[in-house]
Symmetry: C2
Subunit: 462 residues, 2 copies
């Protein structure tokens, strides 16, 4: 099939949507390390997880053997409202860059949550409803996950309580309002509504908050109310599982048009988008059926992959959650307030961490002013105003496309365009006004973060 036959947007039909999620862990030789109990350091059992998370989701979290898990029909029905999402050929960007590379992006922003987060939110809300719960609690950073969960909860008639990282709460009043429109209650974190929030406020009264802290508050709130469970929008295995719809649709679209990817690029905060996008491709790579370069892009201000430690660490600031083995900056690491929006999490999905440790994916850190430059260039020729998070991937895709121009190679570059930046205009304004600055933590900053990683036999910083 020749390039000319590839449309601007490849849409699968609703019938071609995946009927099951793909569980990458089933094909991994080195399985991701299990969650362990912070006291005993023993792998967590199902019954230790179910007081926090919905039962079916706990089973998914612990399941590293079934490669395919059926997507319940009510979830597929909801998916049909905004999926399949298009795989877009970036013809205009290619022309602007004058590159022989073929650039594609899987665009997950065409839904009101503005991102891929809805893929897991609707799954988690569904299982909560199935279990007969009254409601769910969660945290949100940039606000996309909170919006997604608000939408999913409204759809299934669940109460939804969102702890929003304070700096985002203040930077993004309209995000908050979208969640309220969907019936959610939104509280800036840290807050006085939880014990852990009060404790953090006492210690750090001026903190702009962190995902780790908001997680602690949401977990405390869930476990202290009858009929509630906590849900999480990234990091966990179950979330990567749900997000595999992104990669499966991408692969189906590629296979349909004979596109063989050379490089697959995704931004990485907790890892849900990247893990979802690469899942089936990584499956082929793990099974030796194909090979691709897979690149994780993270902010230089929160560089868990490129400068973190691969150790067991707390998932939250309040240390109420299990320990996960992952690339981490330490649970008390909080990126500088001048870092705009998402990708603020101190750790990284255990699954992706293991793949990175095994050399199956690469990682690269980029600075935010370069990211917004790429975002603006992309917006002006591709017509989509991208989310700052997604723009990390854009920056890397442009860099790779320019290398192709230099080498004359017509590589196929695929990246995940996870969402739109409509609620990130405060950050765009800083960029437009020339007041955006870059921040790179010093080694001393990182050491301070690492000093909070728990030390026990087999888990020591060299």
């Amino acid at each position: 099939m020749t390039t000319n036959e590839i449309p601007y947007k490849i849409y699968l039909t609703e019938d071609e949507m995946p009927k099951s999620w793909y569980n990458m862990r089933a094909d991994m030789k080195n399985k991701p390390a299990p969650l362990i109990h912070p006291g005993t350091h023993q792998p967590l059992k199902l019954e230790e997880l179910t007081p926090i998370f919905c039962e079916e989701l706990c089973k998914q979290e612990l399941n590293d053997s079934d490669a395919h898990i059926a997507i319940p029909e009510p979830i597929r029905q909801f998916y049909r409202m905004y999926r399949p999402s298009p795989l877009v050929r970036a013809y205009c960007l290619e022309e602007r860059l004058n590159t022989p590379a073929h650039i594609y992006y899987k665009f997950e922003g065409n839904n009101t949550s503005g991102s891929h987060k809805l893929n897991s939110a609707i799954a988690q809300a569904y299982y909560a409803k199935q279990q007969g719960l009254k409601g769910v609690t969660t945290e949100t950073g940039a606000g996309q996950w909170g919006t997604a969960l608000s939408m999913a909860s409204a759809y299934f008639g669940l109460d939804c309580q969102v702890y929003m990282v304070k700096c985002s709460y203040e930077q993004k009043p309209f995000r908050r309002e979208v969640m309220r429109t969907y019936g959610a209650t939104v509280t800036p974190s840290p807050s006085n509504t939880t014990a852990i929030g009060r404790k953090i406020l006492e210690q750090f009264p001026d903190t702009t908050g962190s995902l780790g802290c908001a997680i602690s508050e949401a977990v405390e709130k869930a476990t202290s109310q009858e009929g509630y469970r906590y849900v999480l929008g990234s990091v966990l295995n179950m979330v990567l599982l749900h997000q595999s719809v992104i990669g499966q649709e991408t692969m189906a679209a590629c296979d349909k048009y004979g596109i063989v990817p050379d490089i697959i690029i995704g931004c990485a905060g907790g890892g849900s988008n990247l893990g979802g996008l690469i899942a089936p491709f990584m499956g082929r790579k793990l099974r030796g059926e194909a090979d691709y370069r897979i690149i994780a892009i993270e902010p230089a201000s929160c560089p868990s992959f490129t400068r973190g430690k691969f150790l067991y660490d707390f998932c939250d600031t309040g240390h109420v959650c299990p320990l996960a083995k992952m690339y981490t900056l330490g649970s008390e690491f909080i990126p500088s307030a001048n870092h705009a929006g998402g990708l603020r999490y101190h750790g990284m999905s255990s699954t992706l961490s293991q793949l990175y440790a095994d050399g199956l994916i690469e990682a690269r850190a980029v600075e935010q002013s370069a990211v917004f430059k790429a975002a603006t260039e992309f917006a002006r020729c591709e017509g989509i105003l991208p989310a700052p998070e997604s723009s990390h991937a854009i920056k890397a895709a442009i860099d790779e496309a320019i290398k192709c121009k230099e080498s004359g190679e017509a590589k196929n570059i695929i990246f995940g365009l996870t969402g739109t930046g409509y609620f990130d205009m405060t950050a765009y304004k800083a960029y437009n006004d020339g007041t955006m600055s870059d921040y790179i933590p010093t080694d001393a900053d990182l050491e301070r973060g690492f000093s909070h990683i728990p030390q026990f036999p087999g888990n020591t910083i060299n």
Copy 2:
């Protein structure tokens, strides 16, 4: 074909996109009245229009005989970035309402301008570029048109100067920032940058602005700079022509799936969305090939169709533009500041006005709190947060679907979902907080507006 076979979203292929615009006027027996000169009251000639608008667009404006006008390939290429737009079956809304009606909406919000406005913006920018111009000026109310023109101008490398109605400029700082990201300059109107702006500010220092006033400023700015022309996002015949892509895609999708519409609903401010959506359907109706109920929905606070006069009137507050025969509230009518966002124009497309006068379309006015109630209900089950403008159509579609429930009829209702409400959260906040109020102008308010309509033989208020 049975209902079960209709997917949630009907996407045409890029090949099925229309290759020409459909010019409804060609099939009208009673042609819309021509634009006339404000001094001589004679129909305007091409050479009188070209100092204001691009030449090719002037020809389109005056052309009421050619039914089909080819869409230049560069415009179709841009269209492919976000078109064809989906015709969505509102399965979830139907279920929520428990109605036998089949509800469909043509969703134009999946692009960064957030609305259908981009369809005409890219066409007008293209012709400006073809004519060798340096840039364009325009006005924007809710901000969607300004955003669309900024995107289109960035694509073709044109300078773009936007006058934004002051109340929107203040309510929507992020809209302004999106336009800046696309390289446009944005000025709140009325402003000190034009003679007409200064005059209005002197007379009404506290005015929150109006579209009519912003138009005057943009026209003055265009005609006082070398290499600039003015472009307009609604009202004009050429705009309705470009927007006919909406209706043509809708009709193609309906025909493909055997859907025969009973009722077609669109919101109406200046008429571009409604005129575009109904164009080919009206064509069939005018040619006697089919019949549909076509309903224009307008805000009760700016009721040009339902309470206006069908007379020649100024298109702008500053009276620098030609006179158009249309349903009008008078060029100095400014809706109350508590009216949220768009659909603020005092007049209405001449083409739609003639069709309304001839009984070929119906009109209905709705109050804004009922509109936001419908918007919230729609958002919670259909997953899209609609623009306030579009929500006028949602309100009417829900009303019609409820009538179907009462009568037991399975009517096919199609409405235009022109855009998303992501930049309208100030208005949603007012609704969520319970502080939104309704405003209906009194007869005395309207009389004040009518008193500014020019009176001359054949153009008198009875």
